[in-house]
């Protein structure tokens, strides 16, 4: 048994913070490695030592196993925790660690390799009597051959990268005619992400649930499972909301747990892993999908219901200890849900966004509310890494209570400066299909219209509070008695305000009248008269203000920087621009939707493929270009019939947001 007293965390953001927290608890010193862009982030500060390993691009920093091992050696770290993503499922890296006498906190290279290949893992599973989805997992990659196989399996089918994960290199094909184009896309993505373009084809299950089992093995051939998680709420094949336990009945739960252990045993698995199954709601059958040989993003929900610190187990098992508990000793209690808070625009096809967290405040953590994040107010979510801002994990005695706690926490989660999915998550949690557990993995896609419905109109009270709150916050510079003071007859102080919010359908300009009468703010906003009598600061947060008005007492978060920002009763942000401070017209066509002739980069991105040439005639729906941003591929199709007039960028070029890429005529 080798004792770990110094651990290098080869990752960034919230997972790096998460690992370090447990390490600190266990008295283990921590070493961080970071890219140029991450220099001032939380995980770097949390570590006892931190070393720069290169430029922002992951390929030149977080994926540089040589540099990371060098840091580990020079800092005399006995172990490396890879977190998830980056090098966590890289067998070569695991091997390199071993060669350098460094403990890789994760399974051995052999298990990673076997489970990393979808086709190989399925063969192993079939041999171990773990059920698998029908499909073709062979080496022949000829497109026409694959098409034949697909027809054999029967449409709909799923094309997946052999080395894939995280939704990359994955396509659903419902018709024969779509197969070849989808195949090409999947291969391209696969090559880009995994340097391996091989794909497999399998049966696509119409009403599937994503059920996965947390397993754990040690170096002494002991295996346990820590129950299952339901991760069916997904968009773009990425998980958004996960919960534990699932709605499986006890027999199936027992069965799936045992099968997962079998899977682990089959590859002599040690450390934390997850066996993913696809559960067919129609037949109540489950099939092995793949095994993730690492800690999962959603591991906290398992921790919440079992009371186990999985990172602690990882470190103990890695240093050669036996599993701390036997299967019989592992008990579950209550219900836990995790919501992933992403920097993305749900209303714009979940397009990832980047930018600065102008305002960031988390709900109060408690016994039942846990927040895993690596960001602080003022931090930037960059285009280089995953757009996840935080994980919000809650615990409840039962599912209903957990949902309630999560909703409440989300209402107190306030983010501004970046597009984010908070209000979307709130809508999901209140959807009857979610509440009554009638969903499958297509839930979001199927209910998109309902889930993405925007609020119709602002509550005038919020506008009034924002105005009064701004004055209150301003009072540092000007005493209240002089704020907006006019001698002689009081002029109705007409203000024109621009109001915008990602959660509201309307971006608009409204006129309000505002009088200060003694201490009272008298406001008239679109016909409602509101008098704000008193504003006080809450002791809890700096920007939390308490308003006494003629319509009751309200508590709101107000920020007064360039614009006024208020979070409404549901916690959705509203930005108010006072015209005298802001001339710019509200840009409604930020994403280039207004002009069908010019294709404009919606965000910073890299051009991966140009499908057309200047002078080429295109039809509506034809693929013009493919670009990559925030680790996702985006296909841009022609919105009109026309001719390509101009192409401004070449493949591989980096493009600034707002730049025109292709012009049609």
């Amino acid at each position: 048994m080798s004792y770990i007293n110094k651990l290098l965390v080869a990752n960034r953001g919230e997972i790096a913070c998460r690992v370090m927290r447990t390490a600190k608890k266990m008295g283990i010193k921590t070493v961080a490695v970071y890219s140029d862009i991450d220099k001032n982030t939380l995980f770097v500060e949390m570590a006892d030592e931190a070393y720069n390993i290169g430029p922002p691009q992951a390929l030149q920093s977080y994926l540089r196993s040589d540099k990371i091992i060098d840091v580990a050696l020079s800092t005399k770290s006995q172990a490396i925790h890879p977190g998830f993503g980056f090098l966590s499922e890289n067998a070569q890296f695991s091997e390199d660690c071993q060669k350098n006498d460094i403990i890789f906190v994760g399974p051995g290279a052999d298990a990673i390799r076997k489970m990393g290949s979808k086709s190989e893992s399925k063969i192993i599973m079939t041999n171990a009597k773990v059920p698998v989805v029908p499909g073709y997992h062979g080496e022949t990659q000829d497109p026409n051959f694959l098409l034949q196989e697909a027809e054999k399996i029967g449409f709909p089918v799923l094309i997946k990268a052999v080395m894939g994960g995280g939704g990359k290199g994955m396509r659903i094909v419902r018709q024969k005619s779509e197969f070849l184009e989808a195949l090409e896309g999947a291969k391209r993505e696969a090559l880009k992400s995994f340097k391996d373009e091989r794909v497999l084809v399998e049966k696509y299950i119409e009403k599937p649930r994503h059920i996965e089992v947390q397993i754990f093995g040690d170096k002494h051939n002991n295996y346990v499972h820590l129950f299952e998680r339901d991760c069916s709420i997904q968009r773009r094949h990425q998980k958004v909301i996960e919960e534990a336990p699932s709605a499986l009945d006890e027999n199936i739960r027992y069965d799936i747990g045992e099968k997962a252990k079998e899977a682990a045993r089959a590859v002599k698995y040690s450390n934390a892993g997850t066996v993913e199954f696809i559960f067919d709601l129609d037949s109540s059958k489950f099939y092995f999908m793949e095994m993730n040989t690492r800690l999962q993003v959603e591991h906290p929900i398992t921790e919440m219901i079992t009371g186990v610190d999985l990172v602690e187990w990882q470190l103990r098992v890695a240093s050669g200890e036996h599993l701390p508990l036997t299967q019989e000793q592992i008990k579950r209690k209550g219900h836990s849900i995790e919501a992933r808070i992403y920097s993305e625009s749900p209303n714009n096809n979940f397009l990832p966004g980047s930018g600065k967290l102008d305002h960031y405040s988390e709900p109060q953590p408690s016994q039942t509310v846990r927040i895993e994040t690596g960001v602080r107010e003022g931090d930037t979510i960059s285009i280089f890494y995953d757009p996840m801002i935080a994980k919000l994990v809650v615990y409840g005695e039962n599912r209903q209570m957990a949902i309630q706690t999560l909703l409440n926490a989300l209402q107190n989660y306030q983010i501004q400066g970046l597009p984010n999915n908070i209000s979307f998550l709130k809508t999901v949690l209140q959807h009857p299909e979610y509440v009554n557990q009638q969903y499958d993995t297509s839930f979001i896609a199927k209910n998109q219209d309902n889930l993405l419905k925007l609020k119709d109109n602002y509550n005038p009270i919020d506008i009034a509070l924002a105005i009064a709150g701004r004055h209150f916050l301003n009072s540092v510079q000007l005493p209240k008695s002089l704020l907006n003071f006019r001698n002689g007859a009081q002029i109705n102080n007409k203000l024109t305000l621009n109001i915008q919010s990602a959660s509201y359908a309307n971006q608009k300009e409204i006129k309000i009248t505002h009088n200060i009468n003694g201490n009272n703010h008298e406001l008239e906003i679109e016909g409602s008269k509101i008098i704000v009598q008193k504003v006080t600061k809450s002791n809890e947060h700096n920007n939390l203000l308490i308003f006494e008005t003629n319509q009751g007492i309200f508590i709101r978060t107000i920020r007064n920087k360039e614009n006024i920002l208020i979070f409404d009763a549901e916690g959705d942000p509203i930005t108010i621009t006072v015209s005298s401070d802001e001339v710019k017209k509200v840009k409604q066509d930020q994403h280039g939707h207004g002009n069908n002739k010019e294709i404009v980069a919606p965000m910073p991105c890299t051009l991966t493929k140009v499908n057309v040439t200047v002078g080429q005639k295109v039809k509506r729906g034809d693929i013009l270009i493919i670009m990559e941003a925030m680790k996702m591929e985006h296909t841009i199709k022609a919105a009109i019939d026309g001719e390509v007039k101009e192409i401004r960028y070449k493949e591989g070029q980096f493009i600034e947001p707002g730049a025109m890429i292709v012009k049609l005529e």
Binding site: R470, L483, N484, N487
Partner: protein, 554 residues
Amino acid sequence: IILNKIIKMMHYRSLFRFSHYPVLQSLCDRADPNLQANFELMKQSNERFLNITNKVINYGGTVAHQKLAERNKFPVRERITRLLDVGSPFLELSQLAGYELYDKEEVPSGGIVTGIGLINKRFCMIVANDPTIKGGTYYPITVKKHVRAQEIAWENKLPCVYLVDSGGANLMRQDEVFPDRDHFGRIFYNQANMSAQGIPQISIVLGSCTAGGAYVPAMSDENVIVSGNGTIFLGGPPLVKAATGEVVTAEDLGGARVHCFTSGLTDHFCTSELEALQKGRSIIRNLTTKQVGDIRDDQPIYDIEDLNYLMSSDLKKSMDSRHLIARILDGSRFMEFKENYGTTLITGFGELYGQEVGIIANNGILFSESALKGAHFVSLCQQRGVPLIFLQNITGFMVGRKYETEGIAKHGAKMVNAVATATVPKLTLLFGGSFGAGNYGMCGRAYGAKFLFSWPSSRISVMGGDQAAGVLTSVQQQTIVRNGGEWNEKVEKDLKQKYSQKYDNESSAYYATARLWDDGIILPTQTRQTLGLALLTSMQHYKYERTGHGVFRM
């Protein structure tokens, strides 16, 4: 830690460093029938003021505003609000200038809005033409108001921002606006000299600047113009056609494009009023002049509304001006100077928005002792560089044989002399009567007050209406009798009534403010803020200078 605590305590002490000034006792029993009677009269007086002012401010109403909107223009006061910092106060000057001045021709606010507000935390003088009033042309009172605003800016070193939208001089009244020293030409003289002394002159051209008006931007340091609305030319298209036969549009003759791209008369090309006003803000932001720091506000402990009960608009009634002082000064704290001497004049020290200030307030008629006390106190403040606030309610110096023989004229002259030569910032408020030489001793308009404001109920004239009627009637009687005319009670009564009425009319605050004898009428409840802003403005760039003599004990 102990050191930290001491530093902290010292910090707190400095916050309350004037707490040793005692709090004035000033009770107000609103149920008292006398106070109720006061209130009824004050209420009438205040309401009349508000009615008149509201009419003036909203002249033209929504129709005028709609017309402006069609031309992408904001109403003049909205322009100012958008130019100022969010939440900035605006100390508007002489809102009622020109009121009932030109018989049937209405020139609300004199056709121009002037006042002081904060732009990027700097007090600035805003001079804004109102295009809805006779095309923004300059009446005599417009010129006077514009020049007065410049005078204030010059004295207090305030950057000037001109929101120009004017047809130039009013041609029908050229004799009253063009030739004299303080007429139209003075505007440009002031601009040139202020600029020479480092006081920024900025023009934002939002409409036409014709003829003389063209020189406002032309004489400015930095100019902004709105494309489509702003035009600058010496002669407009009609004049050009008449003079040379050339036919040209206003835009081609002197629009934004001409002046920003070709003539170089303007510096910043903007496409909307909002953008132009924002540009003006940026220009001020780039100045290197001092910004206003945090302003302390230690509110008086008494309700300012009490003034409507404690003060009276019936000037025959005596008012204790301590009640007023208690509702102006920070924390109602006031340290009287010579409390027991010359008691009809109250003098003493206090603070207003954190600024130390000397108060001189009438509390009855001026006797020799009160005049001497006043002279002493003024020279004391002058020696210390403490600004002065004069609270005027004065019927005059005492008359009668006893007083003339003891030399009240000579003693009064000492006070007038001290006030006239004091160079510390002086502010004056007329809250009651302002009659005769009392006006001089209490820093009337002629004595260089930086700002002078009046309450709606105040009156100003050389003497009271009744006394004047008496004097004039007896003079008239002598003439009539000398010339053998008939003199009886009816003639006497008619004459008295005629003179009394003339005085009543001419002494009203409205008559005075219409002619710019003050810087505006304010409500009693606005006194603290108005004087406070005036004081802060005056002190922002004030430099203390010693003058000739020491303090004379009189």
